[in-house]
């Protein structure tokens, strides 16, 4: 039996008929029996290789739950965030998603995934009653496609967009050559082909494309190749906590003047600070693209100020008391946008189905996120193509902006 997007199941037909009936009687149009709580599910890697990231992201979900309920929930119904560990295994995250749907059914109105792998695996299953609007930790370019992935969106630019921003910045600085060093993973490879094409358009020569292991890479070999390539800039892609600092450290020991740049997952202050504390100030001057303002840049950012107050109260004595990592900001904004889309869907008198929510997603235009971005955000092609270049100072231990906000 084919359950295409356009097919109407018996339950959906009954719901639609009921909705039409209710509307004709001038009753509230949301006819789905409202549960006492709506549920937004999440899979996070709280064990396994990315447990650090998962454990740091989880508090933002708690924060999101509290803020949303303080603001009256979604469509007047309070929410609960239900988190499960995935161990960074895509099948586990898929099982978590389906388990939640089986146990909570229609109360589940959205989901936050933990990886590109999960988003790819779940995408074809998002049909009929199984579909929910969702976002994730991934900025994979392949996902930003409303045609193939209508229910999935990202709260920022794709990796290709991030490469575009960096290459534009290099061109603006008069740079003529670049090297791409990436992990030998899908995450690392994502923007490489695009980067080659875009660099050619901007008149920048790509002198080296080098793949490394995602963990435990042979740093000396890669640094030697980088030295032989003699590129002015080097963009690092596909790393989270490791390899990128070692590569920069190795290059500095080698005496290379290359300017290093990174993308979202290689731009976390907690990691840069730890490396500086343990190995010295060699990350000084490291640049990269970040879609969001850092958490300490909270002037005229009401959402950041609200989060800071919450952190002081609830996370006292932890590293999160005064600083929310960029990974947590990404999760927070993703869920904020998810809630906003669902709230707008409810306000429009529509059922909180994935189809209605996905249709509403493209209505998010010129939206004030409360400080995450400099300019207002517009969701186009299920992504927000905004970012700017930041530079790390080992002395102040801060990333500070070196470019204006760029929209791609």
């Amino acid at each position: 039996m084919t359950l295409g997007k356009s097919s109407i199941s018996r339950r959906r037909f009954i719901k639609s008929a009921a909705a039409a009936g209710a509307a004709s009687l001038a009753m509230p149009a949301i006819v789905r029996a409202q549960p006492s709580h709506y549920i937004i599910g999440a899979s996070l890697p709280m064990t396994g290789p990315f447990a650090t990231a998962g454990q740091l992201i989880a508090p933002s979900l708690k924060m999101f739950e509290a803020f949303t309920n303080q603001a009256g929930g979604i469509g007047g119904v309070p929410i609960k965030v239900a988190v499960e560990d995935s161990g960074y295994v895509a099948q586990n995250a898929l099982a978590n998603y389906q388990r939640l749907l089986a146990s909570e059914g229609d109360a589940v109105i959205g989901y936050f995934g933990d990886s590109t792998g999960f988003m790819k695996l779940v995408a074809p299953e998002l049909k009929g009653e199984q579909a929910r609007l969702m976002s994730s930790t991934s900025f994979a370019s392949e996902l930003a496609n409303p045609e193939t992935n209508p229910y999935q969106f990202m709260a920022g630019p794709t990796y290709e967009d991030q490469f575009d921003i960096l290459l534009q910045n290099i061109a603006a600085e008069g740079g003529k050559s670049v090297a791409f060093i990436h992990s030998n993973t899908e995450f690392g490879l994502d923007p490489i082909e695009f980067g080659k094409k875009r660099a050619a358009e901007l008149g920048i020569e790509v002198k080296l494309i080098e793949a490394t292991k995602p963990q435990g890479a042979d740093v000396a070999t890669h640094v030697t190749k980088l030295a032989q390539a003699d590129a002015e800039y080097c963009i690092l892609q596909g790393y989270v906590t490791g390899v990128w600092p070692q590569l920069i450290g190795g290059a500095r020991q080698f005496g290379l003047p290359t300017k290093f740049m990174g993308t979202f997952w290689g731009m976390e202050k907690l990691i840069a600070d730890r490396v500086t504390a343990e190995a010295g100030p060699f990350l000084d001057g490291y640049q990269g693209v970040m879609p969001y303002r850092y958490f300490y840049d909270s002037e005229d950012a009401p959402r950041y100020q609200q989060m800071a107050a919450f952190s002081k109260e609830h996370f006292a004595g932890t590293p999160l008391e005064n600083y929310m990592p960029t990974w947590g900001l990404q999760a927070m904004l993703s869920l904020d946008l998810l809630a906003l889309t669902l709230a707008k869907t409810a306000e429009a008198g529509k059922e909180l189905t994935a189809d209605n929510a996905a249709a509403m997603l493209s209505e998010i235009k010129d939206h004030d996120t409360g400080g995450f971005f400099g300019p207002n955000a517009t969701i186009k092609n299920n992504k927000i193509g905004i970012g700017r270049v930041y530079q790390y100072s080992a002395e102040s231990k801060l990333f500070t902006p070196t470019s204006d906000w760029l929209e791609v």
Binding site: M1, T2, L3, M46, T47, Q55, A58, P59, L61, K62, E65, K80, V81, A82, V83, E84, D85, G87, V89, A90, Q91, L94, A95, Q98, R99, L101, A102, S103, G117, K120, L121, A123, P124, E125, K127, Q130, E142, N184, T185, E186, L189
Partner: protein
């Protein structure tokens, strides 16, 4: 007092279902498997399908490790071969204009055949090395297969690191395009695989495998060709894993290389050890434990500790520790696996109220 099951002929002794408990269990499981799609929710179907896919692979691993005594740690590679081969063959057949209804009949045996051929290749070191050395040799096969899937040279067929979109098989005009429908195929293949492998050990080939396991040079002196039977064992085992991979490809809409890495090979061997090596029901019990216990732990600990975010952060590592402890417990207290525990249980049941144990 009941002291055994009376059999009056060799034919009766050779029967696969040679006592009433086995019959009741197998027919009960068949009835449950048939009834499941009519009342179970999607999550239950997902879990049942995962058990089915894993079971087919573990039955294959049982042939080479449990019955032939050749330690292999590379069987996830054969599962990968099956998953990718079935998708690639479907794509090729589609390009050649072969009708959809014919494609699964060619793609499924094709995927099993490719896996069997690779199995023979990987099994070659078993002619020279044994034990832990063979384990290391087969382990490297797992890495090589994943490497070949990921490299750019073959990415036009394999999709490289981006993975491959899988086909929806069409059986007699029925397109299996939902997990519930593919479950039916998985359940059928799982039962068929168990029965066929069980049947194998009533034949000369199966007995040759067991002879090799018990003492390979004695087997050779008795006329068992080690070359032929060791490689046959690897081929059959890899074909089963290839079938499991094909089922995984039909079940998931996408196959990704990371689904078939070392962790899966270890899981297959762990399931076999926990269930009981060289026993028909070993893979069944082992797979149920390996696939379902983590889920049961998640559900039960979620119920005990609540679904709040703090509780989730706390219980995630606890679940891992409890699961690890359970595996250690099984291996420590019953090295022969759950099959042995179930044997003791049924023996006690049979003799009750007289003797136990």
């Amino acid at each position: 007092m009941i002291i055994g099951n009376r059999k009056t002929s060799y034919l009766e002794d050779e029967k696969i279902l040679n006592n009433n408990y086995k019959k009741a269990f197998v027919f009960g499981m068949i009835a449950l498997a048939i009834a499941l799609p009519f009342f179970a929710d999607d999550y239950t179907i997902l879990m049942a399908s995962l058990v089915g896919i894993m079971l087919i692979a573990v039955v294959g691993v049982n042939v080479v490790i449990g019955y032939t005594g050749l330690l292999s740690l590379g069987h996830a590679g054969f599962v990968a071969i099956g998953a990718y081969s079935v998708s690639i063959i479907h794509n090729l057949l589609g390009e050649w204009g072969v009708p959809d209804v014919l494609q699964p009949w060619l793609a499924l045996p094709g995927a099993m055949g490719v896996a069997a051929l690779i199995g023979i290749l990987v099994g070659l070191p078993s002619l020279r090395v044994k034990g832990i050395y063979l384990a290391v040799a087969t382990l490297s096969a797992n890495f090589i297969i994943i490497f070949l899937i990921e490299i750019d040279t073959f990415s036009q067929w394999t999709g490289g690191r981006l993975g491959l979109t899988t086909p929806d098989p069409n059986f007699f005009g029925w397109v299996l395009d939902s997990q519930r429908e593919v479950y039916a195929l998985i359940a059928f293949c799982a039962f068929a695989t168990i029965l066929m492998v069980q049947n194998l050990f009533r034949t000369r080939v199966g007995r040759a495998f067991i002879a090799i396991r018990e003492k390979d040079y004695s087997a050779e002196i008795l006329g068992v060709s080690l070359l032929k039977y060791k490689l046959t064992s690897f081929a059959i085992s890899a074909a089963c894993c290839g079938l499991a991979g094909a089922m995984a490809a039909y079940f998931y809409a996408k196959v990704l290389p990371e689904q078939f890495e070392l962790a899966l090979s270890l899981q297959l061997v762990a399931a076999l050890i926990v269930g009981g090596m060289g026993r028909t029901m070993g893979p069944v019990f082992g797979t149920i434990i390996i696939v379902l216990v983590p889920e049961i732990l998640k559900i039960s600990m979620g119920a005990m500790m609540g679904s709040s975010i703090e509780a989730a952060q706390l219980r995630a590592p606890i679940q891992e520790i409890v699961f690890g402890g359970l595996i250690i417990g099984f291996v420590l207290f019953e090295p022969l696996g759950i099959s042995q525990i179930m044997d003791r249980f049924f023996r006690a049941l049979n003799r009750w109220p007289f003797a136990r144990g």
